[in-house]
């Protein structure tokens, strides 16, 4: 299989129904007033913008909201991420990996689109650490 054909193998199921559902009916979309943790960042490539707000009590994420605009992949994965972290200890949230995020998203992405899918996670971690963290897919 040539390099182009290999990348295209998984394209047919790219925009699965549940991804579009998260895009059009996002869970935990919004902002938190006076959040304990907040951060926003963008993907300069396609202009995806994500902001994450967290309310944390006793080391546990009580409430999490995301806002922003961008492609279906970035917005759906950010929304899914909020569901992953709600009610979990902050220490566990810090451990969420790129692989965890992509597995939850459940589709195989081309390298360019991986950036879209991981923007939410990048912003979430930046908010917790209070500083920008490197791209998850950088070596």
């Amino acid at each position: 299989m040539g390099i182009i054909a290999r990348e295209y193998r998984h394209m047919d199921d790219f925009y699965r129904e549940y991804i579009l559902d998260y895009y059009r009916n996002p869970r935990n979309r919004g902002v938190i007033e006076a959040p304990d943790y907040t951060y926003e960042d963008s993907n300069p490539l396609c202009g995806d913008e994500i902001r994450m707000d967290l309310r944390v009590r006793d080391g546990v994420v009580e409430e999490v909201k995301f806002s922003g605009r961008g492609c279906a992949i970035s917005q759906a994965s950010a929304s899914m991420l909020t569901e992953m972290v709600e009610g979990r200890p902050l220490e566990e949230v810090k451990q969420i990996s790129k692989e965890d995020m992509l597995e939850t998203l459940g589709i195989t992405l081309t390298p360019v689109r991986v950036k879209c899918a991981l923007l939410g996670l990048k912003v979430l971690k930046s908010s917790i650490y209070g500083l920008p963290v490197p791209d998850e897919d950088e070596p």
């Binding site: 790219f14 925009y15 059009r24 396609c46 202009g47 913008e49 605009r69 961008g70 492609c71 279906a72």
Partner: protein, 416 residues
């Protein structure tokens, strides 16, 4: 812009297509529908072969070499300059300076002419439809000099706002930076008329012609602008090569941009006498293969005839806009076809352009999605991004049909 199409023979896009090796390939049984020439054009065999020939048979540095292949390289390099001069009808080949790209051309004007001529009490004007490369250098110049920035906004249908033009004229600005053709809206601006009006109030005019020179007859003498920048890779040539075409008196009076080899006449430890035009602005070993390749690209376009190129694209853009307008939920940007260059921007319902471009790619249709290095324009129309199809000499109605068909598929995938 008033257009006089003198050559009425239609351009044969099918025949042109055969000259481009990249367009011969298929992926998953689908031909490559390349609609991103606004970003970079494809290259005909003649250009690719010219680069290959240079590196294989007479690779040597230009100027100063006394051996045969160096002389040949110098001769071809300088011949290309003359070809470019004739292509845009510049007064002299000395007014043609090779740079790295349009961005470098515009920055050169900002850093040399700008720093020498712009001061605190001056006004710099540019338009809302500029590419970032015709915005940021002027912001930097404003930061360095304290000059004030003023803007010409765009109308809902993608034209420059005439009231803003008049207001700008009253300010008697030191500099006007304006694009000849918008890379997003496709708007063809009336450069000749703008230059005349701004010259009357003593303004120096810089034109970003990156989206104009590849697509329509451009006569810089008729425009009469002070500086015109364009780039090789959007007009069938290689990347890494731009052109700054400047008025000779201004170039003579300007300090050099970068110091180094080739731009000097004589160097002493404590002082340097600079070379004459155009080499004064070409410090260091230039993009020799690129310049030679551009010369061949210019030959190719000249042979087709720029009148015919424009006529072909005008007809194709009219067809594309008509077909796109029939796709439900599609919003088109920019002026009607008569004032429209080769780029057509649109949005489709709530599908983010990045997703849309991704789906089109599955159909082997290449379009650009994003802010197109024109974020102020995105703000103006309150959108995050657009999808842009841009056409060139090798595109035809089949490409438009493939695009439209893929858009319908995207609507289906997004359950619209």
């Amino acid at each position: 812009m008033t257009e006089t199409i003198t050559d009425t023979r239609a351009l044969d896009a099918q025949a042109v297509r055969r000259d481009f090796p990249i367009l011969q390939q298929e992926t998953n049984g689908k031909r490559l529908v390349y609609l991103d020439s606004g970003a970079t054009s494809q290259k005909p065999s003649a250009v690719i072969e010219a680069l290959d020939e240079y590196y294989r048979t007479y690779n040597a540095n230009v100027h100063r070499g006394v051996y045969r292949i160096s002389e040949l390289a110098s001769e071809r390099y300088e011949k290309s300059r003359v070809k470019v001069q004739r292509f845009v009808n510049a007064r002299s080949s000395r007014e043609i300076i090779f740079t790295a790209n349009v961005t470098a051309s515009l920055n050169m004007v900002a850093y040399t002419w700008g720093r020498a001529n712009v001061s605190r009490d001056d006004v710099i004007v540019f338009t809302e439809m500029e590419h970032h490369s015709n915005i940021v250098p002027w912001q930097i110049l404003s930061g360095m000099t304290g000059a004030r920035l003023e803007f010409i906004h765009v109308t809902d249908d993608g034209y420059l706002n005439e009231e803003d033009v008049e207001r700008a004229l009253e300010l008697r600005p030191k500099l006007l930076a304006v694009t000849a053709v918008s890379n997003v809206l496709g708007t063809i601006n009336p450069i000749k008329e703008l230059v005349a009006r701004f010259h009357e109030v003593g303004t120096t005019v810089v034109v970003d012609a990156a989206q104009a020179v590849p697509h329509m007859p451009v006569d810089v003498r008729e425009w009469d602008a002070d500086f015109v920048g364009f780039t090789a890779h959007k007009m069938l040539g290689p990347t890494g090569l731009g052109v700054l075409c400047g008025r000779r008196e201004l170039l003579e009076a300007m300090p050099p941009f970068m110091g180094g080899g080739d731009m000097i006449r004589e160097v002493h430890l404590d002082r340097t006498r600079y070379n004459e035009l155009p080499w004064k602005f070409e410090a260091g070993t230039p993009n020799i293969a690129g310049v030679i390749g551009l010369g061949v690209a210019v030959d190719y376009l000249s042979e087709l005839g720029m009148d015919r190129v424009r006529a072909h694209e005008r007809e194709l853009v009219a067809y594309a806009m008509e077909q796109l307008a029939e796709v439900p939920d599609l919003r088109l940007f920019g002026p009607p076809p008569k004032d429209h260059g080769a780029a057509v921007s649109f949005t489709l319902a709530d599908i983010h352009p990045h997703d849309l471009a991704h789906i089109l790619d599955q159909e082997n249709v290449c379009v650009r999605a994003g802010h197109h290095c024109a974020q102020p324009l995105m703000e103006r129309y309150d959108i995050a991004a657009t999808t842009r199809a841009s056409f060139y000499i090798y595109n035809d109605r089949d490409d438009v049909d493939a695009l439209v068909e893929a858009l319908h598929k995207a609507r289906k995938i997004f359950m619209l």
